[in-house]
């Protein structure tokens, strides 16, 4: 069903034959993907030659690849030639002038999540001249980081200001040829975040994309690179509980994390993109490649994610445990409602000695949704005394939804200890009645039971995020019972 590589190639060639020329001065390019488009993006961003080479190499690789179809999700084939791969930020004239012009349903959701008015405006894309306090917040924030020697900036900025770091680490965890979507991302990504924590530094605050000035319009192909040098520590928050205005259907981001000796990276995500309406129309396709490399001894990478949005989620934040004594963790809550589909999980690749990993996955399905956990625990030959603990729980609401578990275990070292526990349960009428008899309304009771189910994951989130995530779950599952 996927667009065949040869077809793409011939199509590209054909367009080129017809004299497809791109105007460098324009802000948006015509839909379609070819080497011209990639050169255009690179030129627009004033990139050095090595960056363009990287993109072109990725593009040529992508042409040879096929879209993966093994995930437990179902969608219409994506026409990659119908997407526009570069568009500059929208002019203020096209944006809503005030909140009155914004979809009331969206505002209602903001209200329920308790989002302050000025932030609502930003999220809904309302044209505001002074982008609220974030400028000042971000400025204080930046100087504090600079004092500590932490580099935290947009990816484009990093390419200009810190090319040696980008060149050294980009693609070192997720190689160009890793998968179809990561290759596409490498070819066409427009922006993202870059973070470097120097040796021995404990990042003085939690880094959040939400507060980064350049966070807007990173587009559908986002690139994130985080490097924690020896003995450093960083906690990074990605996303936002509020649904953001977004017109791109396909999202294919790549996140690479690198932890050197004794370094620790904690990466938390709350994803709440548009899931489509209750009949399954619209919604974002989220095909993300996230991987961390515990490159150094005693390093640790911890992924925590709360996934409630998107029509389709295809996402496996993974850790390569290369350093001896390194630790990988994955804590996940994935909620699917209506016609949402999620195929998510993790890979823990044990390579070094005495490595350990923990996987806690909580899947919740309601109405007609399909939720799959897919996880790989691989113990390599030389990974003496590797340990893994996996717990994978599913909660069903109603009888038309589905939960699926696909655990893969490959152990090539006999000293490995691998444990896997899985449960599937339904929100019981007994539990609901018990709560209601104590005076709690049905809706609050559902929230309470679901949040109880997710507790092991929420407690891994930074405090503020955890509170928001709980509220978000409530809003997402509103009306799912009864």
């Amino acid at each position: 069903m996927s667009t065949h590589a040869e077809d793409v190639e011939s199509l590209v060639d054909k367009e080129y034959e017809h004299g497809f020329v791109t105007d460098i001065d324009s802000d948006t390019i015509e839909p379609g993907l070819n080497e011209e488009v990639i050169s255009f993006i690179s030129k627009k961003k004033n990139e050095p030659a090595w960056m363009l080479d990287y993109r072109l190499k990725a593009y040529r690789q992508w042409l040879k690849m096929e879209e993966p179809l093994w995930a437990h999700v179902d969608y219409e084939p994506i026409d990659y030639q119908s997407i526009s791969y570069y568009s500059a930020p929208k002019s203020k004239d096209d944006m809503p002038k005030s909140l009155d012009e914004v979809d009331p349903k969206l505002l209602e959701t903001y209200e329920k999540l308790g989002i302050p008015l000025h932030e609502q405006k930003m999220l809904a894309g309302v044209a505001v001249d002074a982008v609220f306090d974030s400028v000042s917040v971000a400025t204080t924030f930046k100087s504090k980081l600079a004092d500590a020697g932490v580099i935290f900036c947009s990816f484009s900025e990093a390419v200009q200001e810190h090319p040696e770091l980008v060149q050294k680490y980009l693609g070192s965890v997720v190689p160009i040829a890793d998968n179809y979507f990561s290759a596409l991302n490498a070819a066409v990504f427009t922006d993202g975040s870059f973070c470097y924590i120097p040796k021995g530094v404990r990042c003085p605050m939690e880094l959040s994309t939400y507060f980064r000035i350049n966070a807007s319009n990173t587009g559908q192909f986002e690139r994130t690179l985080i490097v924690a040098d020896e003995g450093s520590h960083v906690s990074y928050l990605e996303g936002c509980t509020a649904p953001m205005r977004d017109e791109n259907q396909l999202h294919a981001a790549v996140v690479e994390l690198i932890a050197l000796d004794d370094a620790e990276i904690k990466y938390s995500t709350v994803q709440n993109w548009y899931p489509g309406d209750e009949n399954g129309k619209g919604g974002i396709y989220n095909f993300v490649t996230k991987r961390g490399d515990c490159r150094g001894r005693n390093s640790k990478i911890s992924w925590t994610q709360v996934e409630t949005g998107s029509a389709i989620t295809w996402k496996y934040p993974s850790s390569l445990l290369r350093g001896d004594n390194s630790v990988g963790e994955f804590y996940s809550v994935a909620v699917t409602n209506n016609y949402q589909q999620a195929d998510t999980g993790t890979k823990m690749i044990h390579i070094g000695k005495n490595t350990s990993s923990t996987i806690i996955s909580k899947g919740i399905s309601a109405r007609f949704a399909q939720n799959a956990y897919r996880g790989l625990v691989k113990i390599s030959k030389g990974a003496d005394n590797a340990r893994n603990y996996t717990q994978c729980d599913s909660l069903l609401m109603g009888d038309k939804c589905g939960a699926h578990t696909f655990p893969y275990i490959e152990a090539k070292n006999s000293s490995a200890q691998v444990e896997h526990e899985a449960t599937t349960s339904k929100i019981g009428d007994d539990q609901l009645f018990y709560c209601r008899q104590r005076g709690v309304s049905e809706e609050d009771a559902v929230n309470m039971i679901v949040n109880g189910f997710c507790k092991d994951v929420f407690k891994e989130l930074p405090m503020e995020f955890a509170v928001e995530a709980q509220k978000l779950l409530g809003v997402t599952l509103e009306g799912a019972v009864g």
């Binding site: 009645f433 005076g439 189910f453």
Partner: protein, 251 residues
Amino acid sequence: MLSINDLHSQIDDKKILNGLSLEVNKGEVHAIMGPNGSGKSTLANVLAGRDGYDVTGGSVTYEGQDLLEMSPEERAWAGIFLAFQYPVEIPGVNNIYLLKAGVNAIRKSRGETELDAVEFLALVREKIKLVKMKEDFMSRGVNEGFSGGEKKRNEIFQMAVLEPKLAILDETDSGLDIDALKIVADGVNHLRNEERSIVLVTHYQRLLNYIVPDFVHVLANGRIIKSGGSELALQLEEQGYEQVMREAEAA
């Protein structure tokens, strides 16, 4: 306060209650006794508003309101409490978190201010002594990993905190050893006053040695066949249900 009139109820197509009538006034303690399958638990569940019990006839009035029209939470707000025969486990949900949500929902429904965390903690610390439970019980998951006796004590603890006007205790004595039974009975006796009505549903007379009811009713085949004072429970203990049922039929 509670007036049940000619109540008929069934589960699926099986008739359980066949014209049950009962009057409960403020401050009274009524014991409903009867053999297995007589409809005791059905009565408790119908009063609390559990799904799956179809009321096919009769009426229930509570403080002048049609009880059967109210949702389970509305009944709780109106002061009805059910101590469950089989308290359910809710993993990950803190025991007092649920209770605080309940207390505040009830207060809100009455236009009272909600209790903050400090006030609430003071309240539960006081009440938990009543059932001789350790404080760490409060922060465990609702009934999660509790023994049978602990679950029943937790029900009485919740009753003490929620301070209902009408408490229905569904076989609260079942599965309790004698020490736990005494603790539970002491707790209930402590909560007994002239404002609060209590309906005790029980199979055995032994609970009534500790909680002495004002009235005892014998339930058989879905209706009350005999009513009396606390001495009726002793008669049941001596003669058994069969004998009493035969006498009632003959009368």
